[in-house]
Amino acid sequence: MTPENGSASEKWNLRLYTAGQSPKSLAALDNLKRVCEQHLPGRYSIEVIDLLKNPRLAKDDQIVAIPTLVRKLPEPLRRIVGDLSDTERTLVGLQLRQIK
């Protein structure tokens, strides 16, 4: 396992909570896709949960602000709140990069 991007075979299960097509939700999905393609190519899945359609699902991961990304796998569970525009912070939050 490398400190930068975990074990090469490890599957990443990411869940992004959005609010329809709000600008920050769209930006978050765009930023997340870019980070995943760059750092986890071929071994990630993104599940998008639109809380405008089903707000009750916010309870599962205790979501208070949108967008919020939840790393379900690999454990431990991690949450990152915001549109993921700060790539460095996103990488640290996902533990794809060590804190400098």
């Binding site: 609010a19 329809g20 097509q21 709000s22 600008p23 920050k24 939700s25 809380l51 405008l52 707000p55 009750r56 916010a58 309870k59 599962d60 205790q62 979501i63 208070v64 602000a65 949108i66 967008p67 949450r79 990152i80 709140v81 915001g82 549109d83 525009s85």
Partner: protein, 225 residues
């Protein structure tokens, strides 16, 4: 000094995590990285969007070619887009809070009232809209959503759908007039030639209209298949 127990350390770590999460939310809010919040006890509640999160929808609705109206269950207009205002020939500012039925022909008002009370999604009715200049517009009102007591309607101007049949009627009238003219200029060769040329042009137009109707019919059949 007493040693720190394992339970206490565990509790401390959990509190640190919660503090970190709260700090993360605060940071995201202050940096403007979120545009919606989940509110309500135990996550049971609703999603509140910040005003700028609506901007994309607002632009879409403002620029679309269909009319859009949000009305109360008793038919008072709370929102209308520019297209609806153009359809009626009434300034947008005058539409807000006006009764929708005042822009619908008298004979359709009872059906409109019943329609607005219905919460079934995708239901629709066809009515005559009254323009300010006195003209009537056939229109289809489709219920896009019904939430919190408000109906959001899409308003489609049905006149373009009637244009092909109106054009066919107009061409038939022109043909009949030409036939009369043809009889009147029986001995006038240049006049007959001119009328023949006009008849050919009209036949060409009629074929184009027939083809348009065929294409539209095929598209509708494909859509309903």
């Amino acid at each position: 000094m007493e040693p720190i127990s394992a339970d206490f350390e565990k509790e401390l770590a959990a509190l640190r995590d919660k503090l970190e999460e709260a700090e993360d939310v605060r940071r995201a809010i202050t940096r403007g990285e979120v545009d919606a919040f989940v509110v309500g006890p135990g996550g049971s509640g609703r999603v509140l969007l910040l005003a700028n999160a609506y901007q994309r929808y607002r632009q879409l609705v403002e620029r679309m070619s269909q009319g859009a109206v949000t009305a109360t269950a008793n038919g008072h207009i709370l929102f209308a887009n520019q297209r609806f205002s153009e359809m009626l020939g009434v300034p947008l500012a005058q539409l807000y809070t006006a009764p929708l039925e005042s822009y619908v022909s008298v004979g359709d008002r009872a059906r409109l009232g019943a329609f607005l009370m219905v919460s079934a999604r995708d239901s629709q009715i066809e009515v005559e809209l009254n323009r300010r200049d006195g003209a009537n517009i056939p229109a289809r009102l489709s219920l896009a959503s019904f939430a919190d007591g408000y109906a959001s309607l899409l308003v489609t101007d049905l006149r373009p759908l009637q244009w092909p049949s109106m054009a066919v009627d107009a061409l038939d009238s022109i043909r009949a007039a030409l036939e009369k003219l043809n009889q009147g200029v029986a001995g006038d060769a240049p006049g007959r030639d001119a009328l023949h040329a006009i008849s050919e042009e009209i036949n060409g137009l009629a074929r184009m209209i027939d083809e348009m109707i065929d294409v539209e019919g095929a598209a509708e059949r494909k859509g309903s298949a």
